[in-house]
């Protein structure tokens, strides 16, 4: 199977190069807090950029919006409030950590551009309820866009490469792009919607090999209400299962995703499928590790795996760390912040850990 590159990796969207206003993601904070810490560290320490993380930020209501329990006008005004935080801090470049949030902001800003009366409404309601005013952002970029933009600069600082040190060959990486990153507005995603380049660019730059497989563009299955309500979760797991069945013959070494929800689902559903169907998608029964792009970049930069938070993943990463040649102390894995050794998590029945 041959793949050739054409328009998509020539298409570059505009990504601001400094002075970022960071918005934290509900899901990323919940499941991958270490990734947000790592991202801030990369931007500030490795790249010397200015990024602001204010305390009085909050959810953009994205999940509420897409579960249709939060009306458009509410979400719109909450978005306006977040922009007012950015404006009052003197920033213009909005960086939402969540891909759903990225989608929400892109949609709302697009709505305001096409329907100025809605923008006027947002201004009015925000002012009437909170006394706040806001400016539209000059640029909206997802953190993965920024890492993509500076992947060469980060590469200079990286101690490791995406290479299997046992075989010398590039690691085979499945890159998964969150649906709301480029499907809503293809022009807002690096490389557009069919062959997004934001993660592929990182992988290629850092020595790895991107794996193409038939269900590459398939949704991970979050489905918002299809996961939030337990009765619907079959939908969610079925989608992820479809992806893993499709990628299995290609024997990827790991999966990386830019959406925190996708990362969480592709990790946790492997556990669920293993327990329900006694099936894993790697050869040894451990599953295929699923990382955030911050974890991928952080590992290559030499950040400690347990500070990054790899121990929070259900599919274990040690075998991947071994392939990368990254040292880790197994004794530190399940310690508390004070160094106390906590009882280990229980072991799944079927998924090997």
């Amino acid at each position: 199977m041959t793949t050739k590159k054409h328009y998509w990796n020539e298409y570059q969207k505009e990504i601001a190069d400094d002075k970022y206003f960071y918005e934290r993601s509900c899901i990323r904070q919940t499941f991958f807090p270490g990734s947000e810490t790592a991202f801030l560290r990369m931007i500030k320490e490795e790249l010397g950029k200015d990024i602001l993380d204010v305390e009085n930020q909050h959810t953009c209501t994205g999940i509420g919006f897409y579960t249709d329990i939060v009306p458009l006008e509410t979400t719109m005004t909450i978005v306006a409030r977040l922009l007012s935080l950015m404006t009052e801090a003197g920033y213009e470049n909005y960086v939402p950590s969540c891909v759903t949030s990225f989608g929400v902001f892109s949609e709302i800003v697009d709505l305001w551009e096409h329907q100025p009366s809605m923008l006027a409404k947002a201004r009015k309601i925000l002012y009437d309820t909170t006394g706040r005013t806001f400016e539209l952002p000059k640029n909206i970029a997802h953190p993965s866009d920024i890492i993509y933009k500076f992947r060469e600069e980060l590469k200079e600082k990286m101690r490791y490469r995406l290479v299997n040190r046992f075989t010398g060959k590039p690691l085979r990486v499945v890159e998964h792009i969150g649906c709301h990153y480029a499907k809503i507005f293809p022009n807002k995603g690096v490389g557009k919607a069919e062959f997004p380049h934001v993660l592929a660019g990182m992988i290629e730059s850092w020595g790895g090999e991107v794996v193409d497989y038939p269900e590459r563009r398939h949704c991970c299955g979050f489905g918002f209400r299809q996961y939030v309500v337990r009765a619907n979760r079959g939908y969610s797991v079925a989608n992820t299962k479809k992806k893993f069945e499709s990628m299995q013959p290609y024997e990827p070494d790991f999966v990386v995703a830019n959406c925190p929800g996708c990362t969480m689902f592709m990790d946790k559903w492997q556990y669920t499928i293993a327990e329900m169907e006694h099936k894993t998608y790697d050869k040894n029964g451990f599953g295929i590790p699923v990382l955030t792009y911050e974890e991928m970049a952080g590992l290559l930069l030499g950040y400690d795996p347990w500070e990054l938070g790899l121990q929070l993943h259900q599919v274990q990463s040690e075998r991947l760390l071994d392939k990368l040649g990254i040292p880790y102390n197994p004794n530190e894995k399940y310690k508390s912040v004070s160094g106390k050794i906590l009882p280990n998590p229980e072991k799944p029945q079927y998924l090997r850990v």
Binding site: M1, Y213, P214, P249
Partner: protein, 385 residues
């Protein structure tokens, strides 16, 4: 690009001038009329001492050239490429009667062997200057040609399927376009990505047409019958291959087209699925997986095929786009705009500037030939007025 009367002296000097100047043209036209009246000649008995320029050596341009020459009007035919009628040459057999495209081209080219026709290959017209009673054409070799009338027949180019990234053209070897299939059929070598006879071939209609995402809302008219024709040809060469055609509508408006469709079903068992394929991906074993909905059943379907053939539409050629814009005649989608589609379809808003063929809209070969012929007659009418 229609420049005002005064040209810069420098530009004048840099061009070699083989043809008469505009004032000379006016004089000669007047002289012709005088001679006619004096000798009581009919218009068609007088040979026009002036060349008409035809831009584009395709079906329309070639037909116009031979008709003009038959009416004793000298013609300069300019073709940007090295060969004439490349769009026709690239075909194998032409619907609905499976005539040989190569022979058709040969016939048309032969008709150009006429003392009054001069063919300029590898010659692109890069600039057109409008003067009263004349047009000055500047070609890519720096030569200028002054003529009383111009026929724009710069044609179309096939849609570049790479722009539909989700269909995998140019990415996966098992995805080809209809032109590549024509070549395979000509060579009797219809093969999949592994070089073997495909067990299954899937055709997808409307690639690059009826699609807001690529900016072409229009229908390209001839892809439906082309797919039916190619489906039959595949089955004739490889009777064991399964053939599917995925369509939204089957537009078989021409004489014999609907019958061809029926024949494809009854004699060749071609399967038709009403659904537009959304994406194509390569499977682990090098086949192509497509996703569509069978809208008549109301259910999504996934199918693996050895070969996916994209029925690409027709777009304005680069020459059509450039010249159409430069002459102020740009129409929708970069095609050129005629004066009126009903009774003045070979005329444009510029007097003495005529249009023929697929530079205006998608057309099939017979239509382009007819259009070239009718444009020639309009030109003759114009010159002998």
């Amino acid at each position: 690009m229609f420049k005002p009367l005064e040209m810069k002296e420098k530009e004048k000097a840099s061009r070699s001038d083989e043809s008469p100047k505009p004032r000379e043209i006016k004089r000669r036209l007047k002289a012709v009329k005088k001679i006619r009246r004096k000798k009581r000649l009919e218009p068609e008995e007088v040979e026009l001492p002036l060349q008409v320029a035809i831009i584009g050596g395709g079906a329309a341009g070639m037909e116009a050239a031979s008709v003009l020459a038959a009416h004793r009007c000298p013609v300069s035919l300019f073709e940007a490429r090295s060969e004439l009628a490349v769009n026709v040459k690239n075909k194998y057999k032409i619907f609905p009667d499976f005539s040989d495209a190569g022979q058709l081209v040969q016939t048309m080219v032969k008709a150009l062997d006429h003392p009054l026709i001069t063919v300029h290959k590898d010659t692109e017209i890069v600039e057109i200057i409008q003067e009263p009673d004349a047009y000055i054409l500047l070609d890519n070799k720096g030569v200028s040609h002054t003529v009383p009338a111009v026929l724009l027949a710069s044609g179309y180019e096939p849609f570049d399927a790479k722009r539909k990234e989700e269909l995998g053209f140019g990415i996966y070897d098992g995805v080809i376009n209809s032109l590549q299939l024509e070549t395979m059929l000509k060579e009797h070598k219809v093969v999949n990505s592994l070089g073997e006879e495909p067990k299954r071939v899937v055709f997808l209609q409307c690639v690059g047409s009826r699609d807001e995402k690529v900016g072409n809302h229009y229908c390209s008219k001839i892809c439906c019958v082309t797919a039916v024709k190619q489906a039959i040809e595949v089955k004739r060469q490889q009777p064991d291959t399964e053939v599917y055609v995925f369509y939204m509508d089957l537009r078989l408006w021409g004489q014999g087209y609907e019958e061809l469709y029926r024949q494809s079903q009854e004699e060749y068992n071609v399967h038709f699925v009403r659904g537009r394929i959304s994406e194509a991906a390569s499977t682990f074993d090098g086949r192509i997986q497509v996703k569509a909905e069978d809208t008549l059943l109301g259910q999504p379907l996934k199918m693996t095929t050895d070969l996916l053939v994209l029925m690409i539409g027709m777009e304005a050629s680069p020459g059509t786009r450039k010249l159409g814009k430069a002459c102020g005649l740009e129409g929708p989608y970069g095609f050129v705009r005629s004066k009126s589609v009903h009774l003045e379809d070979n005329l444009s808003e510029q007097e003495g500037f005529f249009l023929a063929g697929s530079c205006k809209r998608p057309m099939h070969i017979a239509e382009a030939v007819n259009d070239g012929r009718s444009a020639a007659l309009e030109i003759i009418k114009f010159l002998r007025r």
